[in-house]
């Protein structure tokens, strides 16, 4: 809460709030198995999630390389149309669900939530452990689909019926699509266990003094994203189950009467558009499930490394909540030209463009945090700046696609591909990279290598911008997406061969830079420069643990007590340019803080 006068609040808050729940002992691991494999420590689970997501993410990355080779240099890597569409599909699904969602919520969520809210662990550590292993099984099922006859599904990551479960699509008449749907269902089950944990831990297990309006924006982003996911994933779950029934038992939820290749199939009366509604009722919030944690995390990175409080904290919190709420009533902007009642266009265009307002406020506040800051150009800060530029670009092109009349010519072209990669691919990934550089010293006690990190930053930012910025213009020209053979359309105003080759080369280089990053992680975790305690001089609780890296139980004998918000940087009168959250007002009597 903002206080009229900090002194008033400080007087009351100096008296520590009562403990509401007596301290409880955690289950302490006794063997290697319970310590590292079936582990109940959220920090270890977070790392397990992150490593698994990164591993399957590498499959997604290599898939994109192969796709780009086919687009720009067809024939160099031999593949047929079926293989190409399988790459497209698996790349999309892996990156959105198994990489980004799992990494942000499972990875960062698990590692940061207990540490940042001042808890010893998640409220249900055992369920948390099961959550990871269910996710792991989902990944295995997904991976298994590469090895079944016919290979994985090539239905596009949107899995639109009827084509997803008919024979004109790779994997459509085999096990490929079945395994994809089963894997998604298992993923949702695993996520629900983890998600309930995140929400309940944030709402119930905060330490004394950690009011909701004193939580770091990282936690606000993860909390809101998790709530969205808990509401959105069930739509995907039922859609997957219904499509499996259509496929295996011959029901007709999504399948109308069809004549395919001259043969009448047995389906009758279902609606393909019903699937699209269910899919995007999940799919649009999914964008924010990925974006909101990124919004939150980047706010914290910018604030710490600019040595300045985040500008307009309360507005930032409300923006996150409002964006999350609105994200449930905009889904059909993915379906403007899907054949639904055209009058829906008015409603969904209006709601969609309204989202631009809270989103723009977030951007303004990030930039205004830099303004009059004391900006340290550390690697996390570099990635944050790159995020701002990328996200602004991708967000603004969203105003094209959200505006229904403009979407008509641009839909299903490379403009869409460029837009969503910019806004929910590259932008969140830049935050992930920045935050790994930021929190690596907490996880391992060592810094990542600075020189390799700077090379990694420059190649990644310039490379990814070079991939996606020009791609918009192909979309303007009418180059349609998901074409196995990219040809010079009769009516294109200029050749697309050269630019496609440029994009592919940029993609290969940018991808290769990520392997340099993995190398950096492996080497630095052993040989990196020692970081010590709170190396960035941050205020939030995760840096105030007695041990670095924090041990099981996080905070040693006694949980910290929180007296202030996590952004007390450069407070006038204070000796240091930061005051940690657990510093009582009496310890910094000269500091003229205005906000708690």
């Amino acid at each position: 809460m903002a206080a009229d006068s900090y002194d008033d609040v400080a007087k009351n808050k100096e008296s520590i709030p009562e403990l509401e729940v007596a301290p409880q002992d955690l289950y302490h691991a006794k063997s290697f198995w319970t310590k590292y494999i079936f582990c109940q420590d959220a920090k270890v689970i977070g790392i397990q999630y992150a490593l698994t997501a990164a591993a399957i993410g590498m499959v997604g990355l290599v898939s994109s390389w192969l796709m780009r080779m086919q687009i720009a240099f067809p024939g160099v890597i031999p593949m047929d149309a079926a293989a190409y569409y399988q790459l497209v599909t698996m790349h999309g699904m892996i990156m959105v669900v198994y990489f980004l969602t799992a990494l942000f919520l499972g990875g960062f969520g698990n590692f940061l939530i207990p540490l940042m809210v001042g808890a010893r662990d998640m409220v249900f550590p055992y369920v948390n452990m099961v959550s990871y292993w269910v996710f792991f099984i989902a990944v295995l099922i997904l991976g298994a689909s590469y090895f079944v006859p016919g290979g994985p599904t090539g239905a596009g990551w949107t899995l639109y019926p009827p084509q997803a479960i008919t024979s004109g699509t790779p994997g459509g008449d085999g096990l490929g699509i079945v395994l994809m749907l089963v894997s998604l269902a298992v993923f949702v089950i695993g996520f629900t266990m983890g998600g309930l944990n995140y929400v309940i831990t944030i709402l119930q297990a905060r330490t004394r003094g950690m009011t909701l309006m004193r939580m770091p924006l990282t936690i606000w982003g993860i909390l809101t994203a998790t709530v969205l996911a808990l509401f959105a994933f069930p739509a995907l779950f039922v859609a997957g189950i219904m499509m499996t029934l259509d496929n295996m038992l011959g029901t007709s939820f999504f399948m109308p009467a069809i004549v395919q290749f001259g043969e009448r199939l047995t389906y009758d009366g279902g609606s393909p558009i019903l699937f699209q509604h269910l899919f995007w009722f999940f799919g649009h919030p999914e964008v924010y499930i990925v974006a909101l944690p990124a919004f939150g995390i980047v706010s914290d990175l910018i604030s710490v490394h600019a040595r300045k409080n985040i500008f307009g904290y309360r507005m930032m919190v409300w923006a996150i909540v409002i964006i999350g709420a609105l994200s449930f009533i905009v889904w059909a902007h993915h379906m403007y030209v899907a054949g639904m009642n055209p009058w829906f266009g008015f409603f969904f265009a209006t709601t969609t463009l309204i989202i631009a307002v809270p989103t723009a406020i977030k951007v303004y506040n990030w930039v205004l945090t830099l303004w009059r800051g004391n900006i340290k150009l550390t690697i996390p800060m570099l990635f944050s700046i790159a995020f701002i530029i990328t996200f602004v670009n991708g967000g603004l092109t969203g105003l094209f696609l959200g505006n229904v009349a403009v979407d008509v010519p641009l839909s299903d072209t490379y403009f869409v591909v460029a837009h969503f990669h910019m806004v929910m691919g590259i932008a969140p990934v830049l935050v992930i990279l920045g935050s790994i550089y930021h929190w690596f010293p907490l996880i391992t006690g060592r810094f990542l290598n600075e020189r390799l990190g700077r090379i990694h930053f420059w190649v990644t930012f310039i490379g990814s911008y070079s991939i996606y910025f020009p791609m918009h213009y192909l979309g303007f020209m009418g180059v349609t997406r998901r074409y196995f053979e990219v040809f010079e359309g009769d009516n294109f105003t200029y050749s697309i061969t050269g630019i496609n080759q440029f994009i592919t080369v940029a993609a290969l280089i940018t991808g290769a830079a990520q392997f340099l990053f993995f190398y950096n992680i492996i080497v630095s975790s052993k040989f990196g420069k020692k970081a010590g305690k709170n190396p960035w001089k941050a205020c939030s609780l995760e840096w105030q643990t007695p041990d670095v890296p924090p041990t099981h139980g996080n905070f040693g004998k006694e949980l910290p007590v929180v007296y202030r918000w996590p952004y007390d940087f450069s407070v006038p009168g204070a000796d240091e340019d930061y005051i940690t959250q657990d510093t009582p007002p009496s310890a910094v009597a000269n500091a003229k803080a205005e906000q708690t």
Partner: protein
Amino acid sequence: MIVALLVLLVTLGSVAFHLWSPWWWSEIASNWVGMDNTILLSFWITGAVFVAIGLFTAYCIWKYKYNKNRRADYEPENSKLEWFLTIITSIGVIALLAPGLIVWNNFVTVPKGAYEIEVVGQQWAWMYRLPGKDGVLGTTDIKNIDDDNIFGMNTDDPYGLDDILIDADDLHLLKDQAVKLNLRALDVLHDFYVPQFRAKMDMVPGMITYYWFTPIRTGEFEILCAEYCGTGHYAMLGYVIVDEQEDYDEWLSEQMTFEEIMASNGKSDLIKLALNKKNDL
């Protein structure tokens, strides 16, 4: 310094790329100039925001670089500034949305007297059906489809007899005549898209979707399927040829009606019901 320069270069480079990019839309061939104009308007408004934020970010990075003898400003909130920015943004959003909705309203309001044509998509080819002399498209049902009746015409509907059936990927249209495309798919989703017409709409099995436009110049325009429809998606192409009246009539005279096709195949007995009803009309 170098980072500020990077942000500056990315911002200005993007603008330069936009101004000098040779990849731009091809000349419009339909009445949907409004869509192009809304895009241009969007470019002006979003471009201004992009440049403003890029330049301001570059300025901040350059101006407020870390100095250990200096402290950052301490200003948690500034509601005046925040409200000002909120209102400005809202005005920008309204300026984009209002013209967009007007164009959309035109797009979904089919003018009276638009010539109705049916486009049929299937893996992986196009077919077309014109209403014939009576100006009415006969009814169809997917359950009627077989080798003799690839459109699934209802064999007891007399209005279908004079429908002109075109089992080919190319379609001719008459310049300056508003057309309403009734879109039908037999198997999976497809999307009838001609970049120069700007308009597109998915074709969904089990229902009929539509859109309308008026071709405003003659020429040959490539059709691209714009909704992923299986392994042959990229090869689902064709041409729309926009003709002046004379050429159009010549093309039309070469096409056959449903009745003629059935007669030439010796299958007239299959449409007996329709023929009987036609005599009663």
